[in-house]
């Protein structure tokens, strides 16, 4: 909504070269966020599928992201939170690997998610809970051993992106790849986007992190510059175990569903997808996850909702209220004449 296509070439030159068969694959999905933002003939939506079940916590993604994007070092503090000395996403941390140490716990009852998950047949979370998983030591009902969970977090590139909705300058925009990017030379540092993000991803850079872009809102660009020339984002490129997978969101969702089914077949009943559902509160994330526990365990909100979801209704109500007020006022004048 901030960028329309008047005169802008819909597909930049480099993208075509990126596609193996030579022809840019364009989205046909009428609900595609890029298309809805006015990109005609946009390429298919790009995103990440982060499979935390095979993350080894090496943090190569964090380093590759900072290297490529020139994100400054943001503090040499030992946090005392397992091997996580990064803390969380922010203006100078666009990838963050969480480390969660779960003590050996007695059998826990399966807890249903508080999130609106789309249940795709047997692949849905909990689908196998009642199945025969005897012998599986990793299911929540059976698991009694210690676990060390690792997960690389990143901007979700929401289908309905509140940061973008509230940006008054047009600095935040929807790219032809369906991603959400800040243009740091346009951002005026107003900070409206910061509280708008339901995940707490975007943030303004503070001076301690160095002279570059101080006060400017910063976050993952899904390596927009690399995408433009057909390259994989730096984090996915660096990931040694393919925990971070980059590709067409549509295809990644299929891959994620298949991986989930495999894990469920293996008795990992607590495996679940997070953010893959187009019907969730943000219209589905461009960057979604396979988790081995509830989202809160990883620091994710269980039921994220685009913070601007209710704006139209609010404006409608405000409009109705205003009309009512005006009508009332007019009526009172009219009435007085009587």
């Amino acid at each position: 909504m901030t960028l329309t296509t008047g005169g802008v070439p819909p597909v930049r030159a480099g993208v075509a070269a990126a596609v193996p068969d030579g022809a840019p694959v364009r989205t046909a999905d009428p609900d595609d966020p890029a298309r809805k933002s006015g990109w005609d003939g946009a390429p298919r939506r790009k995103g990440f599928f982060t499979d935390t079940s095979i993350c080894i916590g090496c943090k190569a993604c964090e380093v590759a992201c900072k290297e490529w994007n020139g994100v400054p070092e943001d503090g040499l503090d030992l946090l005392g939170t397992s091997y996580d000395n990064t803390g969380g996403l922010g203006a100078s941390t666009w990838r963050h690997v969480a480390f969660i140490e779960q003590p050996a716990a007695p059998a826990r009852p399966a807890v249903d998610l508080g999130m609106p998950a789309r249940h795709r047949g047997s692949a849905g979370p909990g689908a196998d809970r009642t199945g025969d998983t005897a012998g599986a030591s990793t299911g929540p009902a059976e698991r009694t051993d210690f676990r060390w969970l690792m997960s690389s977090d990143v901007c979700k590139h929401c289908t309905h992106a509140a940061c973008l909705d509230v940006c008054p300058t047009g600095s935040l925009f929807r790219t032809e790849f369906g991603t959400v990017v800040v243009q740091d030379d346009i951002c005026n540092g107003c900070g409206y986007c910061v509280p708008a993000c339901p995940y707490g991803v975007i943030e303004r850079r503070v001076e301690e992190h160095g002279p570059k872009n101080v006060g400017i809102a910063q976050k993952c660009t899904l390596c927009y510059d690399r995408l433009e020339v057909g390259r994989t984002p730096a984090c996915a490129q660096a990931c040694p175990t393919a925990s971070i997978q980059f590709g067409d969101v549509e295809e990644l969702r299929e891959r994620a569903a298949a991986r989930l089914a495999t894990l469920h077949d293996q008795g990992v009943a607590e495996a679940r997808l997070y953010g893959d559902d187009p019907d969730d509160g943000v219209g589905g994330a461009g960057a979604f996850f396979l988790l081995l526990d509830e989202p809160e365990v990883y620091g994710f909100p269980p039921d994220p909702v685009v913070t601007t979801r209710d704006l139209p209704a609010m404006w409608r109500r405000a409009g109705v209220a205003a009309v009512t007020l005006l009508a009332g006022a007019a009526a009172s004048f009219l009435g007085r004449r009587r």
Binding site: I56, G57, C58, E73, N85, P103, F146, W148, T241
Partner: protein, 921 residues
């Protein structure tokens, strides 16, 4: 592996996705454990008990691969009947001399042989030392800890007569020589009982030796519950046999011990019993600490080796000092295999060194090679510095002030030098110890008193120069320069080329222009003519070509050799490292090949180049049954083509191509034809895999459990506490703490172990100066269990002081359930985890006390590797004292523990000190 080799670990994850079971045995729960199917917490330093328990399980349940074991191992071979095992001698094998702390190995031999002599091995044995096979390799991390001389493999000695000169072998670290090919057995004529029933056959000796290693004993020694242990046994056994293979992967957690070589031997015994050697998906894989540690033993940075595992000659062993005498010590014409051409390899090396100056009439300049006079390993050299007998020191990508054991000894030794050259990416602690080291803070050193002249020369990184990496599979991979090195940074090749050039120019002029001296001829006669580019950088490609070797005369003069079999002893060929010959075959740099995996066979022979002969898996004759047929279709790799009468398969066969499976050599036949058609382990003198090593090892023919130099528990098997042949250095500056039930042992009640984190590299020279890595692990910390934290009042995020018999260091505290207290021998043993990346200095982005300062120097007898994976300590809450108070604290601990020079330094444990706690239990 996920911690230290995350890139390689992707293949483990891929294997897991394809159904492999991943088991992780480690004192702590690491990033590897997090994704493994099972993590087994083990007490640091107890692995031989664990491995021995698996051997016992295999033997007592008849789970071994009988056909493989009978045909391909020495299980059937009969031993001398005067061999006595440890159980009857309270912890030592027969032949032990308590005076010298060494063995006479005569009684360890096969029946009918009083001794065995230098190897049978051929190229094959040599290459084997490389690392993919059973008993090689700690290479890795000696450099990690910066010990130039110890990086050779944990391979067994290439000794001459087994009974001959153990002391001499120990002195020169003979374990590296000839690739540690073990011993020659003449022509493999040994007595065998293929029913495996003879009480003196290896199989029965092995069975008796490991009978005590029951699951209960494993629990008592290692702290591993029987159910966990048996689950591992079952997984390994079920995944071995005709259809399946199991691989073992280790790194310095196995090698940095006073009995490290025997750890690897333990895995070798298991793999041979289960038929997992020489087959796809099998083997024992040594993970190295650096990208080219394998290369640094092939073309060695070791004091006792010449390129290609040729031994460095010693002064007293070769009286006449002639080339013929030297070659005779390597191989005899009667023995089996390719070592019989050692003269060709040596002469070609001499021609590569000295070119036209090397002629038959001057023994090809053999006398130019410096001769060893004794042990010049890293730790001996450091002690020699303290004695002021070593004046200068080059440190090339090595940070001993942080990375080596006993950091204080390292720094004090360097303060005795006249000059020190440090070539590194950053101003590492070894370059700045004279102004900001811990001893400056304690007052032990004063900057103005240190006469060491330190030259710091900034180095180019691997992306700033051409060259090869040789990794653990013996694969050479070329890397291209991506960017010019910044500023004054230069490659090591540049440094040494120009250093040599300038020295030669100066020596050629002589003092006052009086011309060269005769003594300088070895330097002046060197071939030193590498082409340089516009920046003065020598061509790495030309160096590789020289290593490969060329024809010097005849029709092919000037052409690169295609195989070491083309090498001649007459001076008509040159070659800098015979096992690398072929890397420049056809005039092409074969190490540059990068054909994608999907475009070639699954063995991927066209990716890089593997020595020798581009062979990817060693001993692969064992992938076929004695008749030459694959053990199974699923595991087919190399097999005998009866029609074409040749060995063939997916890989380059590791066997004489035309030797049929049913071939049996006539007595007296030497060379490759001396190998029978079912002798897959062509490195060994009898062609068999050694479950029992009759010679070659200085500390026993079979792995047997000994406690580390410092241990809070007594040896549960016998009186002998620690390896009776370990190298001890009873010096006032190298004290050890009491162990087991010795008085004072309770002063250091905890076990500590050291390791690396993914975020940093070794002693930190490549990571603590980088903001993006330093912020990920910004401070030195110790990892402790909640129980130990409660016992000592430690708080997560707070400070702890860790005290050993040598010093005290401080660290931030991480309280984590990843550290688990173990029940060992009826008591709780707490383990403390310490990453060793940090050091005290002023230049790095993140500094801290060095974990390696806690260690003393005690070494494995075979390869001089230091014990830096386990020792004992105390832990206190809060920061350590500073200045002289720190020294006082350590002295107080030493006094309380009653430490003397003798503490821990008696190789044979005295009678009466250590009642065997498990006896009668």
């Amino acid at each position: 592996m996920a911690e230290c080799h995350p890139v390689g670990f992707q293949w483990v994850m891929e294997a897991k996705a394809r159904g492999a079971t991943v088991i992780h045995v480690d004192p702590r729960f690491t990033r590897t454990s997090a994704v493994a199917d099972r993590h087994v917490a083990i007490r640091a330093g107890s692995d031989i008990a664990f491995l021995g328990g698996i051997v016992n399980h295999i033997l007592s349940t008849d789970s071994y691969f009988r056909e493989y074991v009978v045909a391909y191992t020495n299980a059937a071979t009969i031993l001398r009947d005067d061999f006595v095992d440890v159980d009857d001698l309270d912890g030592v094998f027969s032949g032990y001399d308590p005076e010298s702390g060494t063995y006479d190995t005569a009684t360890w031999q096969y029946r009918g042989r009083t001794s065995v002599s230098a190897a049978a091995g051929e190229e094959e044995q040599i290459r084997n030392s490389g690392g993919a096979d059973g008993d090689t390799g700690q290479g890795g991390d000696s450099q990690q800890h910066g010990h130039g001389s110890d990086q050779g493999g944990g391979r067994h000695s290439g000794g001459e007569d087994g009974s001959q000169d153990e002391a001499s072998q120990g002195a020169r670290g003979a374990g590296h020589e000839l690739g540690g090919h073990g011993a020659n057995l003449g022509h493999g004529q040994v007595d065998r009982d293929e029913t495996l029933q003879d009480p003196h056959c290896v199989f029965q000796v092995l069975k008796r030796h490991y009978a005590r290693y029951t699951p209960e004993m494993v629990q008592e020694v290692c702290g591993v519950p029987p159910e966990d242990f048996l689950a591992v046994c079952r997984a390994v056994v079920e995944n071995s046999g005709r259809e399946r293979t199991t691989a073992w992967v280790y790194s310095v957690g196995w090698t940095h011990h006073t009995v490290g070589v025997q750890y690897i031997r333990g895995a070798a015994v298991i793999q041979l019993l289960l038929g997992n050697m020489g087959r796809p998906g099998g083997g024992i894989l040594a993970l190295r600490g650096h990208a080219s540690i394998q290369g640094s033993t092939d073309i060695p940075t070791l004091f006792n080796l010449l390129p290609g595992y040729l031994p460095m000659p010693m002064v007293q062993e070769h009286g006449s000092d002639s080339l013929a005498d030297y070659v005779a010590t390597i191989a005899s014409p009667q023995q089996k295999g390719f070592w019989t051409a050692a003269d060709a390899y040596t002469v070609s090396l001499l021609k590569a060194y000295w070119g036209d100056a090397a002629q038959p009439d001057n023994d090809f300049c053999y006398r130019y090679i410096p001769k060893l006079t004794g042990d010049h390993g890293t730790y001996q050299t450091v002690m020699d510095m303290l004695d002021d007998t070593v004046e200068g020191y080059f440190l090339l990508g090595q940070n001993p002030a942080v990375g080596s054991a006993h950091g204080r000894m390292q720094r004090l030794a360097m303060s005795h030098l006249k000059w020190l050259v440090v070539r590194d990416l950053n101003l590492i602690e070894s370059a700045t110890f004279w102004k900001d080291g811990p001893e400056i803070h304690t007052g032990e050193l004063r900057t103005e008193d240190i006469g060491t002249e330190v030259f710091f020369l900034p180095a180019a990184s691997h992306v700033e120069k051409d060259g090869t990496f040789t990794q653990t599979q013996r694969l050479l991979q070329w890397h291209h320069k991506a960017v010019e090195p910044p500023g004054d940074c230069r490659s090591d090749l540049h440094f040494f080329f120009h250093l040599g050039r300038m020295m030669r120019e100066r020596l050629a002029r002589g003092e006052d222009g009086s011309g060269p001296l005769e003594r300088d001829r070895p330097l002046l006669d060197l071939v030193w003519d590498y082409p340089v580019d516009e920046h003065g950088e020598p061509s790495a490609d030309a160096v590789l070509r020289e290593i490969n070797g060329v024809h010097l005369s005849g029709d092919k003069a000037g052409q690169p050799l295609s195989s070491y079999t083309e090498m001649k002893p007459d001076g008509s060929t040159s070659g800098g490292c015979w096992i690398y010959t072929g890397v420049y075959a056809d005039g092409v740099n074969q190490s540059q090949r990068r054909k994608p995996g999907q475009d070639q066979s699954w063995v991927a022979p066209e990716w890089g180049w593997a020595w020798p002969s581009n062979r990817r898996t060693l001993y692969n004759r064992a992938s076929a049954d004695p008749q030459g047929r694959p053990w199974s279709e699923r595991k087919a790799y190399v097999w005998w083509d009866a029609e074409k009468r040749t060995w063939t398969g997916h890989d380059v066969p590791d066997f004489p191509l035309d030797t049929a499976p049913d071939y049996r050599p006539e007595p007296g036949v030497g060379g490759p034809k001396g190998l029978a058609g079912d002798d897959p382990f062509i490195m060994q003198g009898d062609g068999k895999g050694w479950l029992y090593a009759p010679t070659g090892l200085l500390d026993g023919p079979m792995p047997t459990h000994y406690e580390p130099q410092e241990s809070p528990v007594s040896n549960g098997l016998y009186r002998q506490q620690a390896n009776p042949t370990r190298q001890v250095f009873p010096r006032p500056d190298n004290p050890s703490g009491p162990s087991g039930d010795e008085p004072g042992a309770q002063v250091f009640p905890y076990v500590f172990t050291t390791y690396r984190l993914t975020e940093h590299h070794t002693a930190g020279g490549m990571s603590r100066w980088l903001p993006y890595l330093s912020e990920l692990q910004p401070a030195f910390f110790c990892e402790v269990s909640p129980a130990l934290a409660a016992e000592r009042g430690l708080e997560n995020g707070g400070w702890a002081t860790i005290v050993s018999a040598r010093t005290a260091i401080e660290a931030r505290v991480l309280v984590t359930e990843r550290m688990v207290p173990l029940r060992v021998n009826g008591r709780t043993v707490h383990q403390v985890g310490l990453p060793y990346h940090w050091g005290v200095g002023s230049d790095a982005l993140t500094t801290g006390d060095s974990a390696n300062d806690l260690f003393g120097v005690t070494l494995d007898p075979n390869v001089h590797i230091q014990e830096t994976k386990v020792a004992t300590c105390d832990v206190r809450a809060g920061r350590r004292p500073t200045g002289a108070d720190l020294l006082a604290l350590v002295a107080e601990y030493q006094r309380r523990a009653g430490i003397t020079l003798a503490t821990g330094n008696q190789q044979r444990t005295p009678v009466g000190d250590q009642p065997s706690p498990l006896t009668g239990s």
